[in-house]
Amino acid sequence: MRARNGFAVLAVAATMAASAACTATGSNGDNGDVTLSVWSWRPEDAAVYKQIFAKFQESHPHIKVDFKPYKATEYNTILSTGLTQAGGPDVAQLRAYGGVQPLIDAGELVPLEGKVAGLTNFETGALDGIRGKKDGKVYGVPLEMSTFQVYYNQDIFTKNQLQPPATWDQMIADAKKLQAAGITPFAVSGKDTWLLPLYNDTFAATRYGGPDFEKKVLAGQAKFTDPEYVASLDVLNQLKPYFPKDMMGLGETDVQTLFATGKAAMIPEGSFALAPMKAINPELKLGVFNPPPPPGAVVAKPLQVGWVDASYGLNAKSDHQKEALELLQWMTTTEFGQQVADNLKQVSLVKGVQSSDPLLGQMVSAYRTDPTPYLMLVDFRYGTPLGSDLQATGLQKMLLGQQTAAQVAGDIQTGVSQWFKP
């Protein structure tokens, strides 16, 4: 870290205390108790985390945990400054893949191999999301993985005598039927653009080839401008008639509410949306499916989009390394994993944890058999511009009629090739 003190010394020497300001907020209590501060971008989970950490304190009475959530859209800003200075977290929730690299590169996180024994409780693939790109070391304990699929409202389906569709044509026919009945087929947001790449993977990964395309594009044998990928971008255009007319004015919570209040029959959403949607309407009866392959698809069976999402890591400047490691170790146990599954309603990656919610179980088993990555997040966030940003911007313009699928593909290729070398 670069010294910024020169001017301060000159101008305000009198008022300045000797500055050795590199302690985290976690503090020692009266009787040697330690309070760890844990940061997260999930304020909506605050209540549940309170219960979870109460469990931790039962077995670790000398460690208190102070859970501090920040708004998700501000979190990156806060964490990147928070880790460099006094008052930062001891343990922080971390983004996956490319999102965490700047923090690793700046030396602000502690590599956990050899320090957290429980890392063996994870499949190696589960740790890939939190590995340093340059040194290959693991910098966090994976919290959960996310999957993305289509939820449907069982009551609406029953009323309209529908089943989860087996073919693309069936899905379109169902959508038309719902529309005729005055129900929005798909609750889709065009305002929260980060969802658009996920919609694309959910409906059209089969069209471009899913994991096989991923391998090829990483090896330099395929490009985003290849006809298969361009055609996959166009799939959302074909579905546009069945999206809400006002989609560009609808945010994620708006479409969740549309769906949860029975105004829309289906919604493409993440595993992480299950709890919030149930909160809007506890009566909601849900089912999930993965869209059948569209015409011309490269892969003939539905694929399940999934990726490792959040992890918890250790601030290199924490004053309570030992206690923080104890907490991280606890986060690798099935006790914690089961809490994540049962109370946070997310997919824990700890081996042996079973989802009590049958829907989450269905998502996980679909991912085990037919996985496909959230391509832009997993592979194209290691440089700027981020692949996901380019695709989101482009898809929004495409759905507004301002760009063609081919132009969108061209922009993705141009942007990404500025830093991506196969």
């Binding site: 910024r4 301060a8 949860a260």
Partner: protein, 271 residues
Amino acid sequence: MRGWRVAGYLLLWSYAAVAVAPLIVMVIDSLRPNTEVLSRPLALPTTVDFSSYATAWTQASFSTYVRNSVLVTVGAVALDVAVSLPASYVLGRFRFRGSGVLIAYFLAGLMLPIRLGILPIFYLLGSMNLVDSRLGLVLVYAASGIPFSVFIMSAFFRGLPRELEEAARIDGAGEFRVFARVMAPLVKPAIATVVVFRFVPLWNDFFFPLVLLRTTDRYTLPVGLTQFFGEFQTNWSALFAGLVIATVPLVVLFLVATKQIVEGLTAGMGR
């Protein structure tokens, strides 16, 4: 002539309706259960229901946030005015070598997106042990207000007639007396303007406390509010209640002070 007046009043009152209608909707919807807000966006409450306020009040420590906002904002505005007033007096009424440069130096701050300095400010406060401190926030806020205060107050000082000051000086008053007893009272409307126009954005600022404060006990209202919005995204009724709670203190404060401000503004200008 009469028709012209009627049209004028009509315009003034219809715009008044436009100005307050969204706020009325905000209050009404905060009193309706969430399902009703979502199913019938434009309706009066069937029964008045304060439970959203209970939700908002118990889930977020709004009383702490209000106290912190008052401390920080009042402190910053007071410090800002205290240092800007004498400086504006010198800059507004006297020409000396470098006074032009100094004026430009102060006014330059008006034209900067202050957020742009956030990282250096963060490191500076860190070196002074003022991160996560309300005092640090007060200093940054007061400093960021100086350009606007100097801009407004020096313009007012410039506009005062020279005779007053000369009369006082002939009476043998010292520089400080001339300033404190004669000139400063004359720019009360300028001070009122500065207080209003600085108080409000500081009260509402969320970016600096978001980055510079860490402890929940020190949070100001807007930061508390953003967290509240994250937690209650789909409970519109509670969101509206939170917005009302965040708005009311300032509106009450302004209504109490507005008499003085507007009177000061107009009377001061008319003199």
